[in-house]
């Protein structure tokens, strides 16, 4: 078998199965941020490590074809704007920056605690994209061989 970029076939097959479980776990942590330990940042790091897992197993070239890095960068930047927009919405409806203006719901339910789950989702997306883009750009930094003495 032709050995192209990335690790061996065993690693690739295991990654193909396990990476979806990693993504599921990250999404679970983000969505339950207002009920259990964790939240946007922790879940976002888990998602970013899932992307990193793909990059380590399949190589950089495959990731470039599979993921749109530019789009990820744009999503990452727009999340900060959406966070600010939600904060200003809180200012106009709730009475202060990032104040709650939705129904608080019932305690210990998934759809409760007003705007906090939305903020968690925004933060989780932002952290996952940002961390992966940072790791990716460190990995593709081109080191010039044989520079000046």
């Amino acid at each position: 078998m032709k050995q192209n970029e990335g690790m061996t076939l065993i690693v690739k097959t295991v990654t193909r199965v396990s990476v979806w479980l990693i993504f599921l776990y990250g999404i679970y942590i983000i969505l339950h941020g207002h009920l259990t330990p964790g939240g946007g940042f922790a879940g976002g790091v888990v998602l970013a490590l899932g992307f990193l897992n793909i990059m380590l197993a399949y190589g950089r070239k495959y990731v470039e074809g599979w993921l749109n890095i530019k789009l990820m960068k744009d999503i990452e930047s727009s999340m900060a704007t959406l966070f600010l927009a939600l904060g200003i919405l809180g200012m106009s409806f709730g009475g202060g920056l990032l104040a709650n203006f939705l129904s608080k719901g019932e305690l210990f339910r998934l759809l409760s605690s007003g705007t906090i789950p939305i903020l968690n989702i925004l933060i989780g997306t932002k952290v996952s994209m940002a961390l992966f883009v940072v790791i990716y750009s460190l990995a593709v930094l081109h080191i010039v061989k044989g520079g000046e003495k």
Binding site: L107, F108, V134
Partner: protein, 117 residues
């Protein structure tokens, strides 16, 4: 008191690494150790004997009120921010090290001495 002194000892480990190591990567790792020591100390300030973690669950609450004492959640939120900033600093330092390696072909700081050119 002992735990705080141990935290300080951990900080000194990081300072020792920054001051004596020549490898840039080892210096970055030492800076990480210093950050962890600070985080650990601030988390330990919030510790309260016999208290539970500051998250309301069905097991430790009654009608939306906690049944026992809880630890202070403010330092924990603070440390989460601190970890994020530390991550950014580490990424920046690594990128700068890569640039230095590109120019000087070494991570040894005693060989990186030319300032310009």
């Amino acid at each position: 008191m002992t735990v705080y002194l141990l935290c300080f000892a951990l900080l000194l480990v990081g300072v020792y690494g920054v001051l004596t190591k020549r490898d840039l990567i080892k210096i970055i790792l030492s800076l990480g150790i210093m950050g962890y020591a600070t985080n650990l100390m601030i988390i330990l300030f919030a510790y309260k004997n016999g208290a539970i973690y500051a998250i309301l669950t069905k097991a430790n609450s009654l009608n939306g009120k906690p049944t026992g004492p809880m630890v202070d959640p403010l330092p924990q939120a603070l440390i989460l921010t601190s970890i994020v900033i530390e991550l950014g600093i580490t990424a920046m330092l690594v990128a700068m090290s890569i640039r230095l390696y590109e120019k000087y072909k070494t991570f040894d700081i005693t060989k990186i001495r030319r300032l310009s050119g």
